[in-house]
Amino acid sequence: MFNTENVLETIKMIRQENLDVRTVTMGISLYDCVSDDISRLTDNIYDKLMRKAERLVPECELLEKYYGIPIVNKRISVTPVSLIGGRATPSDYVKIAKTLDRAAADLGVNFVGGFSALVQKGMTVGADALIFAIPEALAETKIVCSSVNVASTRAGINMDAVARMGRVVKETAALTADSDALGCAKLVVFSNAVEDNPFMAGAFHGTGEGDCAINVGVSGPGVVEKAVERVGDCDFSALADEIKKTAFKITRVGQLVAYEASKRLNVPYGIVDLSLAPTPAVGDSVANILETMGIETCGGPGTTAALAMLNDAVKKGGVMASSHVGGLSGAFIPVSEDAGMIAAAENGILTLEKLEAMTAVCSVGLDMICIPGDTSAATISGIIADEIAIGMVNCKTTAVRVIPAPGKKVGDSVEFGGLLGHAPVMAVNPSSCERFIARGGRIPAPIHSLKN
């Protein structure tokens, strides 16, 4: 019935190789909270979150006991707030953010995502007001996450929004300067944002979603690294097979937890996100997997190919293990949240340009990267535009979460603590893109967006 080897393998994966369920995220629609009175709107939001997610944390804690597996984060995502704000002013949006923060704290969840706007083609009055409010909202709240989708393969790139987000990142950094621009760690700029993403900071409950859903993000870089180590110097076919088998097992745990959480909470099961999500802990690093494959230091020649193979094998192994796959589904490469990436960036092998190339073959983008505090808004917009163009042209999600920590220079280090980790400040190409960003308007959608 139970094979001893299998039982011990599972125990070893959980206890020694950091296998965990990274997040159970409850997506909650705020459509039925709409009101033209801001006090009623915030009351409705608070009441709905408290009602829907009341049992989220306790039930997840019970599941941890039942299955003996850590569920590291319990989170909430909500309908992009700009869609339910109506005529809300920027200061009203800050009130909404504070309401989300209060509800999330009262529920005991780790983060709430969805202080978001979708402006890939243009900007509504609501989106404009929300984006205006982002710096203050992130400075005034603790666990609210914000995202703005500025491009899609179908719509092209809204370069006005890209220019604006460069300034918003700078303002957020300035308003949260006393915590090394922690606000920027809670702000993502997207291309092709997905509607059922359980991971922060970019989670929101999409427009086509139902009233409520349970989405689960799995993890397990440590497990994959050990599997790669065990097979030794085999050829790529054998290596890919081993990663696929491991990804299957990891994903089955996510599927089990998603199914059980959905049953216990009486909320429809949405998706399992097949992502390899690292943490700063030793033995939980995506960079270390690439290094175990044979790359001396992550960022060196061969890194992009290794990552492409890893990303594909994880998806192939995971897809059969889950009835509904969604979210971002790919290996994440956040610098500050991955011990191997931190080390590679510190010794100068891993650069911003190499990270950009890597994002073309994995999920999700230039993530948790500290850059000098004096980087201009236009340069940040240029970095965003480059990354977002990769997403638009390749029909994939890409994102930028950079942290221009005020007063910090290349060689300094920024410490966020916890899962956000720490990161060296990385060099940014000094050449100016001011004139390019100042053009404004939209970059047209690529030819292959015309699929009908």
Binding site: M1, N6, L8, R15, R252, L256
Partner: protein, 89 residues
């Protein structure tokens, strides 16, 4: 429903007795025991029926973990479903 109880540690007298006694106290019926050696460590796997537990499952799992800590052993008590999920298609 079944629980899988794994006990890992250096071999010593009375390990099985201690775990079995705790199972009996909580109304868990042991249906299978296997032992093996992993990296020079004693590893025992017990399968117990938990339909008639005298407490809820988390309390039983906590008691097993405590038993392990008190005796210098690593004891994990997990619901069978996680093993089924990971190792069968």
């Amino acid at each position: 429903m079944k629980a899988v109880i794994t006990v890992i540690g250096r071999d010593r007298v009375g390990i099985i007795a201690k775990v079995s006694t705790a199972c009996a106290e909580y109304g868990a019926n042991i249906v299978d025991i296997t032992q093996s050696v992993l990296d020079q460590y004693f590893a025992m796997i017990m399968i117990a029926e938990i339909d008639h537990l005298t407490s809820d499952f988390p309390a039983f799992a906590d008691a097993m973990n405590r038993l392990g800590k008190d005796n210098g052993l690593e004891v994990h008590c997990m619901h069978e479903e996680i093993f089924d999920a990971m190792h069968s298609i």
